[in-house]
């Protein structure tokens, strides 16, 4: 079966097939990965508290109802380094770097979102 398939494929057919699959792979990497962002938007109680460029490493304390959430920018990524919330979901989310990625500390009403680049569709902000 495999041998007969190989016989019916002419050299150019393999070429077309390889080129087509390479094209599909390129298409997939283009369509399925959002670009890296260039800044992080820090929100407190829904309002923009600060906008930090990802180029510069920095730590920022954001005061919320429970205390300070600490936002850290390092090597073009951002994270919530510490948060007074009970479940630490946003801290455990770790580093985010792609445009549209979000980490939210709901108890302390602090969120960070990567901005810049081509902004992908996002149901949270839509």
């Amino acid at each position: 079966m495999i041998a007969s398939v190989a016989r019916t494929m002419r050299p150019g057919d393999w070429g077309v097939l390889a080129a087509a699959f390479a094209g599909v792979a390129a298409l997939a990497s283009f369509a399925w990965s959002s670009p890296l962002g260039d800044r992080v938007v820090v929100r407190r109680a829904g309002a923009v508290y600060a906008e930090l460029p990802l180029r510069r490493d920095v730590r920022l304390a954001v005061p919320g109802p429970l205390g300070n959430s600490v936002v850290e920018v390092s090597r073009a990524r951002a994270r919530v380094a510490s948060d007074p919330g009970p479940r630490q979901l946003c801290v455990r989310q770790g580093w985010i770097q792609r445009s549209g990625e979000v980490a939210m500390c709901l108890p302390n009403q602090v969120s960070i979102e990567i901005g810049g680049g081509r902004r992908p569709y996002d149901s949270l902000s839509y």
Partner: protein, 179 residues
């Protein structure tokens, strides 16, 4: 009964095209009734018939089979002139373009699988092009493009190999002659 003043004599090739078109329509309708995990992701077995016509009778006959298939199939399924029909026509035009482009390839090196893959990709491009332009905002379509294109390449290659086998099978004679 009054004899029609207009006579349209149908030659043997016309009969063959009509028969292949009927076969393609049947295959297409059968496939339309099958469930698909994603709208638009289908093996496209009707294209086996179109491709067979392409290599047995030539490009013109293949385009006829394809056109008759999309019109006849939509009339039978009741989708004629619906958005789904428009998408089917766009896909058919795209695959026709793929076949026309493939005709420029040297036949010594490029067989049915190449034609099939190019036609399948043209089909997806035609459908997505119309959908993006007319029906759905582009941003909602982007993520599905690689899935449909990948399916087109895969099924296109399989169909092409099937056609290559049909053409190479012993005892195979051109249907225009066998009639």
């Amino acid at each position: 009964m009054i004899r029609s003043a207009i006579e349209l004599p149908a030659g043997p090739e016309d009969h063959t095209v009509a028969r292949l078109a009927a076969l393609a329509t049947l295959a297409w309708m059968a496939e339309a009734l099958l469930p698909s995990p994603l709208p638009g992701l289908k093996p496209g077995v009707a294209n086996i018939v179109v491709l067979y016509a392409r290599f047995r009778l030539g490009l013109g006959a293949a385009l006829w089979v394809s056109a008759l298939r999309v019109i006849g199939g939509s009339l039978l399924l009741g989708t004629f002139m619906s958005p789904g029909f428009a998408l089917a026509v766009a896909g058919t035009l795209g695959s026709a373009l793929g076949l026309v482009l493939a005709a420029a390839l040297p036949g010594r090196w490029f067989g049915p699988p190449s034609h099939s893959v190019l036609a399948a990709l043209g089909h997806v491009a035609g459908q997505l092009g119309l959908a993006a332009w007319w029906l759905i905002p582009v941003s909602g379509l982007v993520w599905i493009v690689p899935v449909l294109a990948g399916g087109a390449v895969l099924f296109g290659a399989v169909n092409g190999v099937v056609v290559a086998h049909l053409l190479a099978s012993p005892g195979e004679t051109p249907p225009a002659v066998s009639r």
